[in-house]
Symmetry: D2
Subunit: 287 residues, 4 copies
């Protein structure tokens, strides 16, 4: 079976690397060439374009930054979708909005391609160690075909529902991350103003039942003032934007996420987009 992996960013490069480590036949493509070179050294074939990367593949994985990029690479006239072989499988691991996933699925069906949305939970270290969690939206039978590959990149596969539901669930996870990090930050900063020590607050709060457990690792970033990116703030801003878009499509009010979105907007505007999203703390502290 031949695999193609499109999109070799922080996450994609490590996911493709894990497929290679497990002996799969993997062709890769990325817009900027340097990650391709690294994967070539690990045994990957490389291609000059997405269109040239996909024609032989039985399964094409994509891990791209925004729905706009997925659209451009796959869905535009003459895009990669039109170069895939009949009945091949396209697994989109990108974090996109559910209505986009549905649109991609329709385009795929029209092109004779089987589509699955399988966004992931986890950041750089989980990608590195094949400990990602996949949220899958697909028919069960399709998931079964793809599962062997997912098992090499992650350690948990949640079958959320039919097409689009993987994207839906991922969106919920990300808006909770974004908001929880912001309320944790606002609490620590208020605490400091109240005269409590930052070290104490960062140490104690994440271990209470009132704080999301992921804040433990983020508190460490705050403590060391080192926001080496695991999940970039600018993509979190994008995800909050996509959630606002989805909430609009569904006529569902979403107060807190919409306000959090503006806080991330400001941090991004201040040039913190490429830091880890935990840098929302840094933004709120310095503003």
């Amino acid at each position: 079976m031949k695999i193609t992996f499109i999109g070799l960013g922080i996450m994609g490069s490590r996911m493709a690397g894990n497929l290679l480590k497990n002996g799969f036949d993997v062709t890769v493509w990325n817009r900027s060439p340097s990650p391709m070179e690294e994967l070539k050294a690990q045994g990957a074939k490389t291609a000059a374009s997405a269109n040239e990367a996909v024609p032989q593949a039985d399964v094409v994985f994509s891990m791209l930054s925004t729905p706009e990029v997925v659209e451009q690479v796959f869905l535009t006239e003459g895009g990669a979708l039109s170069h895939m072989k009949d009945n091949a499988i396209w697994v989109d691991c990108s974090t996109v909005n559910p209505s986009f996933s549905l649109r991609a699925a329709q385009a795929a069906a029209k092109a004779g391609i089987r589509f699955m949305d399988a966004p992931v939970a986890g950041t750089k270290p989980q990608a590195e160690n094949a400990e990602l969690v996949f949220f899958v939206g697909a028919e069960k039978s399709l998931l079964e075909e793809v599962q062997p590959y997912l098992n090499r990149m992650g350690n948990k596969v949640l079958h959320i529902g039919e097409t689009g539901k993987g994207a839906s669930f991922k969106m919920l996870v990300n808006i909770m991350l974004a908001q929880s990090m912001a309320i944790f930050s606002e609490a620590v900063l208020l605490g400091e103003k109240m005269g409590l020590s930052k070290a104490f607050l960062l140490n104690v709060i994440p271990n209470l039942a009132v704080a999301a457990p992921f804040t433990k690792a983020k508190a460490e970033m705050v403590r060391s003032d080192d926001y080496e990116v695991q999940f970039p703030l600018e993509l979190m801003y994008k995800d909050l934007h996509l959630a606002a878009l989805t909430a609009y499509e569904l006529k569902q009010p979403l107060y807190l996420a919409n306000v959090a979105k503006e806080l991330y907007a400001e941090a991004d505007k201040k040039g913190m987009g490429r830091l880890d999203f935990a840098a929302i703390f840094k933004y709120l502290e310095e503003r």
Copy 2:
């Protein structure tokens, strides 16, 4: 040693009950008489007023609903503080704003009384089972005198700092509870609109690292649509208000908590104030 316990609501009645179970000499007072009758049956002495309840006490505990009530009972001219015996200890377990605790401490000092703020984390079941966590603001030596009593009502005593710091820390905990419950609710409701099942969402989300662990128990309330009060929504609204007040005093912006406050305002206005604060879900669902 003689103890007096003022305020026998959901929490106070169980806290006083635990002191009685451990054989302490406890006098109680509550504005409405029925909880006094129950504690009398457990061995408590009762008093006709707060002022009559305190004169013999070595340690007076108070567990009242708002700073206004604490002020009225203790701090007004001729209030309970002026009837306490010299050098007695007043432990205020009420959830109040830090600047109020400082004011109470000053009034106590002037009256020759030693003051400690010791608000608690935990709701009805923790109060029942003596599993509360105390956040203490006081000199260490004062805490040591009071610790034997706290140990009968809770299983953890965190010495946060000097006077007022217990109240400060408690405020942070409560605004995180309020906001986390609201973002969890908004996520579940958006998920339902996306076509995911409520049962699935309530089951899965609280177990992810993105959700505060306390939401597990609250998800059960949502599932059964039974919001039997553990911590009343109207008091959560009060705490968000006190946080806004404190943020103003300290000139610290606090976006998300201020918006969450308005959501709780609406739920309270809709008549949900006496339900558990998890009923913010119900409000957001039905509005």
Copy 3:
């Protein structure tokens, strides 16, 4: 010169009617047929589809509800744009987001069509009485060609700038309308809770320098509890959504409009979408 008018809603039907009154040769099309019948009675030609309505036209006006509808009617493959005659002019009066206007302009240029964005300020009575204000984004020479028609539908034409700038300015106007109506409503409702009479507040506030003058007419709607639609609440919600989208594209924080958006979301969800947007008062009062 032959004119085609696409989109005969509250606004479009009256605008087309004013062109007819001034003796122009007008062909009309609307998705639902009944408004076409009314305009036929006023002298319009009708067409069976947008595609059949445009081929003869020198100038095509469109007044459609959302960018999605404009896209579907004009921009999809084989859409109306491809049936327009070479060098014809397309004047889009719809309220859309600026980046959509730019995309429409590009598609038009590619098809040999000259494009102008000319959204309007004003509601039903202004449309009726040819008292609309046009915000035009176009080359000056193009505006000069179109001005004679605009002058029959409105009494003021503001040349805002090049293509897309009409849409940009219109967006600012609408988010100010939406927010001003919401803050006026919240002020009146708080005033009532303070014990001031609603009649007094509705009478006095709109005449103060602190209130946008348009609130005078809206206060009348509130007073009579009659929200007969002039500008539908659901379209205001759409415009706030488009503003949020634009703010995201431009990385510009926009706190208040984003929160106002959620208030309109709720009102729309409650079934008030087809009332005038002043019904945000009614929603806030009843919630």
Copy 4:
């Protein structure tokens, strides 16, 4: 008739000056001495303390910055209220929250003093030119006694209702000012990002029916980047805080004002508190 004027800030000094110009017998007091010197030069008597300023007065006016200051000067034990002569009138022109006005009125009644809340609309130039608008909460007969003095400091006296209603109405006016300035600022800034010129936006928007007329003068401040204080940003922040407090007391949700409050909080934190509140534009532009 003898008048005392307490509080000689931007507004109070000009109001007292207008009473002097009209030949009244005025004693003044201010915490910092320099404004007293200026008024002495205009004919005022000065006092060494508020308590020494009031005993002879038939009418005492106060124009102080916050309810806390009014409380400290008048209401504390041994404060100015207790030194006023029996049946004298206390006209509080300070901007305070309605529940504070009611508390002041009760204290006054207990002390045998007649109380009136009469906050003003207008800033420095209106104070200078005796063009203030008074919002009066009082019995009609009391207003009639005081009206001759008000007429020398303002050109309009609105009798809003009984005691406390002047303060109520003033609160509504101020939160509308605060929010309108913020939404105007956000609109101009978004417009600039869209490529419209700041000069154009500042020129056009305030003249539209969608903008509160007071923004004309504020646009001039923005244009010249000169925020010479007329109404200080820090007091606007205070008023938004008092509105939040009042909304809490009345259980009335107030979304937009609460979010605006946080924007002003940030601007104040950035050191802009002593500029005119129009500097919220500057803050939003620079953040």
